[in-house]
């Protein structure tokens, strides 16, 4: 649930990456449009459009270099790696508590929240200073969490005591618990914020919780060891991955029923190695991405037909992922190879690999 924070609409391209204006240059020269490469990224130079009075202004054609910050939790290193998504390299490392896993950024972009399971708490990192400044009172062994649309409440799955904890982020207080199945893990919130879905790994269910009453309204059985729950942005479908079952269940959130299942088959890959975990779906709902764990691949799913379109080879034991806010790139955490793969979402190609700390687990990306 790393990227559960609302993503901004695609923004205009930053002018800083265009060719610098050089004073004194011949006014009517029109440099040809030619791509150049920096850190492996293709940029297009600006075309200079000149007015009759002889003033040239840069007219930007292309440039996919909007820089966001990606925060990657390294489960074994007890650190967060900060990646500059334009430069595609680690620009900083933050020391955190024991066993950082679930990670997200608050809606106001002020804090990175990271569940440090072995310290039984969630740490708050100030995005301005990159320092841990506070903690939130979760239950024992927090793993994944999601915030409500107002950004005020945080819902946390506590693996160790079969509960979902509700936390007031502002006041740093615990408001209550909801009892769920054994080993709660995945957390998904409906786009309208009315329904919270928690998956329990040993009970093998998606529990639908009414956020107003904090009561379970439905339980849907899915395949073994459900890890992750993701709604489509229009609220029409809920996708739940089953790590051991090897499937993704497509659930009708109104009828509370499984209406279809995504199955995976990779030639030459034994079926047990295909273990779906993280899920990301584009805003338009047309394309889904499912991390397949030790199969070292991301499956690309047609959002309408639920058929697998393609398997993208990434690093080893891929678990979670997050889009950049412009949805141009998808970053995946590859635990065993200690790196992050960068996928070009339009081209459906893996275009880069970034080394991070040990056993990268989750990733969250800032809005700016």
């Amino acid at each position: 649930m790393e990227s559960r924070v609302r993503r901004a609409k695609a923004r205009s391209v930053a002018p800083t990456k265009a060719s610098p204006f050089e004073a004194g240059r011949a006014h009517f020269a029109l440099p040809t449009l030619r791509p150049f490469y920096m850190n492996g990224i293709r940029y297009c130079e600006a075309i200079w459009r000149c007015t009759v009075v002889g003033i040239c202004v840069p007219f930007l054609l292309a440039g996919d270099a909007q820089a966001y910050k990606a925060y990657v939790s390294n489960e074994k290193s007890n650190t967060i790696s900060i990646i500059d998504t334009a430069e595609r390299k680690v620009v900083g490392t933050i020391k955190v508590g024991q066993r950082p896993r679930g990670i997200a950024i608050t809606r106001d972009q002020k804090y990175v929240l990271v569940a440090v399971g072995d310290d039984d708490t969630i740490q708050m990192i100030d995005t301005a200073t990159n320092k841990v400044v506070d903690t939130l009172p979760s239950g024992p062994d927090p793993e994944l969490f999601t915030d409500d649309p107002s950004g005020r409440l945080l819902y946390v799955a506590n693996e160790n005591d079969n509960t979902v904890t509700i936390i007031d982020i502002e006041r740093r207080t615990r408001l209550g618990d909801v009892e769920v199945g054994v080993e709660p893990e995945g957390m998904g919130l409906s786009p309208d914020g009315k329904i919270l879905v928690n998956t329990s790994e040993t009970t093998n269910m998606a529990h639908f919780i009414d956020t107003a009453t904090r009561k379970i309204v439905a339980n849907v059985l899915v395949d073994s060891r459900p890890r992750f729950a993701q709604f489509k942005d229009d609220g029409s479908e809920l996708w739940v991955s089953s790590e051991i079952g090897g499937t993704v269940s497509i659930i009708d959130p109104v009828k509370h029923a499984v209406k279809g299942k995504i199955n995976f088959a990779i030639p030459g890959m034994r079926q047990e190695a295909i273990q779906p975990v993280g899920i990301a779906i584009t805003h338009d709902g047309k394309t889904g991405f499912v991390a397949l764990g030790p199969a070292n691949r991301i499956a690309v799913i047609d959002g309408a037909t639920h058929q697998v379109q393609k398997y993208l080879l990434v690093g080893q034991r891929v678990w979670h992922m997050a889009f950049t806010p412009d949805e141009k790139y998808l970053l995946t955490t590859n635990g065993v190879s200690n790196d992050v793969s960068v996928i070009d979402v339009a081209a459906l190609k893996v275009i880069d690999t970034i080394q991070v700390g040990e056993l990268p687990w989750g990733v969250a990306i800032s809005q700016h």
């Binding site: 062994d141 199945g181 054994v182 329990s200 790994e201 009970t203 529990h207 339980n219 047990e272 273990q275």
Partner: protein, 394 residues
């Protein structure tokens, strides 16, 4: 007439509502041994609730899930003395409405129990006996095996030793029947995976206490003496299921060699140090509930009780034969913190499972090792496979 139909309909509706409110109830029996086995190390001394504690934790897990499905699970425990007939105990529990039995008994007693339950349609889980014959010539259509076999354990170990290129084994075998069976499985594993047994020695059990006040001084001299004159070897492999000598081997061998098998690097279904694949959570739940560490027998019993819970959740039935059929089928899989789902070998009802290799402090490795391939499931590189089986399920 119309009134009668309406009345009948109302009655039907009421019955349906009542039936819905009544939870589906599944009663499970745990039948264990009355005696505890002697161990060399104090640390390995079995706790009183060894095995049944695992079943109890699984019951807790099943009932948490059952809360949402209107299903209830209960557990009754009984102990049987070695060498006695368990028939009466089984039938008494069956009279209490128990239809599933998790059994930790020696092979012959398990077979007697299964024979006693056959006419009543009872379903058994062998959680304790590792004898291959229970899955081969003595297999039964109503006995599921969650305990691994000797051949699975031996193959799991052999694959790792071969991966390490420790190919020359000095095999030391105890004098009990079980030790001979384990040695047989180890020999089979060595020839399957390309290791060589350079020599086999028998360590006689001459009786005597395992704990004496000044025993260590003697052992330190006895073990190298026992191992002297052996051909060149990479590893000492011990088959000692009765804990007579194997635990004395590490650090006392004549040549500086690692020890594996019944001591040193031990193949097992579970270990208190196993924390991968979410196992940490199960270990935590277990420790919280019982204030001790989870053993392999606990895990084997947990797996059995969870299999019942998993099948019941999927098909919403308490009928033992329906649940058994589902467990044998292609849709069944148990998530048991071993990195992949566990399924049943449909030809002998053995639970497929990875084998942990533990040194007492950490998990050194998990078999099957990479590169040991199989056309159906790599887990079937462990133990006796379908083409070699002598089992005809009846």
């Amino acid at each position: 007439m119309i009134r009668a139909v309406i009345f009948g309909g109302l009655i039907l509706l009421l019955t349906a509502m009542l039936a819905r409110a009544e939870p589906l109830t599944i009663k499970i029996g745990y039948v264990g041994r009355a005696e505890k086995k002697a161990t060399i190390s104090l640390l390995d001394y079995p706790p009183d609730n060894d095995g049944v504690a695992g079943a109890r934790l699984a019951l807790e897990d099943n009932n948490t899930t059952g809360k949402f499905l209107n299903q209830r699970f209960s557990l009754e425990e009984a102990r049987v003395k070695a060498g006695t007939d368990p028939t009466d105990v089984i039938l008494r529990l069956a009279d209490h409405g128990i239809s599933f039995f998790i059994v930790d008994l020696p092979a012959d007693m398990l077979l007697k129990a299964a024979d006693a339950g056959r006419a009543r349609g009872l379903v058994f889980f062998n959680a304790g006996a590792i004898d291959d014959r229970l899955r081969e010539e003595d297999c039964r259509a109503d006995v599921i095996h969650t305990a691994p076999t000797r051949s699975m354990l031996a193959d799991g170990l052999a694959q790792y030793l071969v991966f390490k290129r420790w190919l020359r084994w000095l095999l030391v075998v105890g004098s009990h029947d079980a030790d001979k069976l384990y040695a047989e499985a180890l020999r089979r594993a060595a020839s399957r995976f390309g290791a060589k047994i350079v020599e086999q020695r028998v360590f006689e059990d001459t009786g005597g206490a395992r704990r004496t006040d000044s025993g260590l001084a003697q052992i330190q001299r006895q073990i190298p003496l026992f191992l002297q004159g052996a051909p060149a070897h990479d590893v000492v492999v011990a088959a000692d299921e009765n804990e007579v000598f194997a635990a004395y081997l590490p650090y006392r061998t004549r040549d500086p060699r690692p020890v594996a098998g019944s001591a040193g690097l031990v193949p097992k279904s579970w270990d208190a140090a196993h924390d991968q694949w979410g196992a940490n959570q199960l270990q935590n739940r277990f420790t919280q509930m019982f204030s001790r560490r989870m053993t392999a027998l606990d895990m084997q019993a947990w797996s059995a009780a969870r299999m019942i819970g998993e099948a019941a959740a999927r098909i919403n039935s308490a009928d033992p034969q329906a649940l058994l059929a589902y467990m044998k089928g292609p849709d069944f899989g148990l998530a048991a913190f071993k990195g992949q789902k566990l399924t049943l070998r449909d030809w002998n009802l053995q639970l497929r499972q990875p084998i942990l290799l533990a040194d007492g402090r950490t998990i050194v490795s998990v078999s099957p090792q990479e590169g040991f391939l199989h056309q159906f499931s790599e887990l079937d590189t462990l133990g006796i496979d379908r083409p070699e089986t002598k089992c005809r399920l009846k």
